[in-house]
Amino acid sequence: MKLYLLPSDSIKSFIKELAEDGSVFYPVFEDDKTHLVKFAEDKDFEPDFEKIRTAENIKHFFFPSRDVVAKFPKDSRPKAEKQYLFGIKSCDLRGIDVYDRVFIKNEPVDPMYQERREKTIIISADCPEPADCCFCNLVGVSPYGEGTCDINVTKISAGLLCEVFTKRGEQILSKHQDLFKEAGKDNIKEREKIRKDALKRLGKINEKSFKEDIGERIEKAGKKTMQDAQKDCVECFACLHACPTCYCFLLSDYKKGKDVERVRTWDACYYAAYARVGGGANPRSDLKDRFWNRLLCKFDYFNEYEGFFACSGCGRCYRGCSGKIDIREILWKL
């Protein structure tokens, strides 16, 4: 493993140079929230790599909320463009892991997703300051990138300490090699401390872990447990649309001139009509069943098939929830 240092005074130059090759999105901290913004030459910019994940999930970069996936009778679509996601957190990498399984690994491949994924370079950043809503440590996610990303950076006093994970990441570093230095031992030591502190903080926020057989426990839960869990749910669906690992979608057809566009939109399993069939029957007409289905999907079924939870521990579901339902509390009780 070779680490490189991007000195503080070169960070902006690096972003500027990347922007010559594609769109660059970097994190800014505003009004107590982080957002990814697009680099523009004529704008002042102050990237912040230390705050927690962005308020919005990043799935729309690969899987937009509204996406034309086919045309009829003749197919066509615009090509995806190159983009750099700079400074996203490791919880969002878990989201990408989930999508990679669903849209690429499990055939047939989704060509739209695959193309966007291939055209997107991911430079993740360590999360040194996990917030109270965070629980990545409970779902097997570290507060720093360990893969899925092309490069991971850690904000240290001297700049960004970069670790390369892919060939593509190597190429980027060699292309912009004038900006980088080889990292020193003290830089690496500083990273170790930052990571240790972040993990310690997460350990304090989430003292209990989920039980080993959490999937089975969700499956076996009684009606009363399910009822209690959803009693504060007002069906605003914020949790599902904010979730970086939810991937349900719906296809709808719309006339456009002489042609028809097949549009894929994000869907959510909490919608009452989600599973309703043509004849009117509905296997999950009751909110408690829909609410519980989300837990089954994320912690039981997905884990069984893919070997990890379809949950990133980002806490966006809790932050967005009108009823302040904390998924951790539900799972801890099981």
Partner: protein, 293 residues
């Protein structure tokens, strides 16, 4: 319970057919345009749509998404033989897409996407008696299976069909059944909930035809398709008389969108009806609280 791995189950056949000619890319969301060749009303609300040609290679049991341009798509199992020249769908008018479909005329364009799901394991049926039970429009996919079996009828010991409809006028393929009844090695019995003066056969729901089951239940496959309530009671009866749970094949109904195991709509317990189904065995679904809704 034997577990299958829905999301890992791949669909190679699809890749052959969904090539859109656009960048030589396989787009699983693209529907192949095809014209309606002929429309044959079967009952007051069930119609057979014969398309101009066979847009995809499918096996009995697999399904396709049928599109009414600009309206949307819905999943249907073809009712024609996989070996036929033209693809056919027998469809009941129920919701938005089917209502729009019923407005279409001969020569109009529709789209098909597929095939999706797993076929019936016909190799496992070889040398056996095959016991088919259908109700209402559930005869549509069973016809495709039946025609596929007829194509190689010598390979099977005997084919039994037990079919029920509400009234004699609601019997699907009434125009074809007399010829089928003449085929050696085929045994067809019909029933209706309510008969009329012309009705010479059994009266009662389809389970009355299952009072006596003339097959060796220990190793015969039984295939069931019909409305949920029928599935429930027929399955009960089939289990009671001793059919092996893994030999009871049930057509599952579920909300479906993508057809390729991604959108999550059709999941029933751990199964994706679109990838693991649309036919699952009783062994697969018996652990689910309410498999037939």
């Amino acid at each position: 319970m034997e577990t299958v791995n829905p999301v890992r189950n791949s669909n190679k056949v699809l890749d052959q057919n969904q090539k859109t000619g656009f960048s030589n890319e396989v787009n699983p969301y693209y529907s192949i345009p095809i014209k309606i060749k002929k429309i044959i009303p079967e009952t007051s609300n069930i119609t057979t749509f014969i398309l101009e040609g066979m847009p995809m290679k499918f096996e009995a049991g697999q399904f396709a998404e049928l599109t009414v341009p600009g309206v949307g798509e819905a999943p249907f199992t073809p009712s024609s033989s996989p070996y036929a020249k033209d693809m056919e769908f027998t469809i009941m008018q129920v919701g938005r897409v089917t209502s729009a479909l019923f407005e279409l005329k001969q020569g109009d364009l529709v789209g098909v996407r597929g095939p999706f799901g797993k076929p019936y394991p016909l190799d496992d049926f070889k040398g056996k008696e095959i016991y088919i039970v259908g109700g209402g429009v559930g005869f549509a996919p069973l016809r495709s299976l039946f025609l596929a079996l007829l194509h190689n009828i010598k390979k099977y010991k005997k084919i039994y069909i037990r079919y029920g409809a509400r009234t004699p006028d609601d019997i699907v393929y009434r125009r074809l059944i007399p010829d089928w009844q003449k085929i050696n090695g085929v045994d067809i019995h019909l029933t209706v909930d309510v008969g009329d003066e012309s009705w010479q056969h059994t009266v009662g729901v389809v389970t009355v035809l299952l009072d006596e089951i003339p097959v060796n239940v220990k190793n015969s496959p039984t295939i069931v398709c019909g409305p949920p309530i029928m599935l429930k009671f027929v399955t009960q009866r089939l289990v009671e008389v001793g059919f092996e749970h893994k030999n009871i094949y049930l057509s599952m109904e579920s909300n479906m969108s993508c057809g390729i195991g991604k959108c999550n709509h059709c999941r029933v317990g751990k199964f994706y009806v679109c990838k693991d189904g649309p036919v699952l065995t009783w062994d697969d679904v018996k652990g689910i609280e309410e498999p037939f809704l």
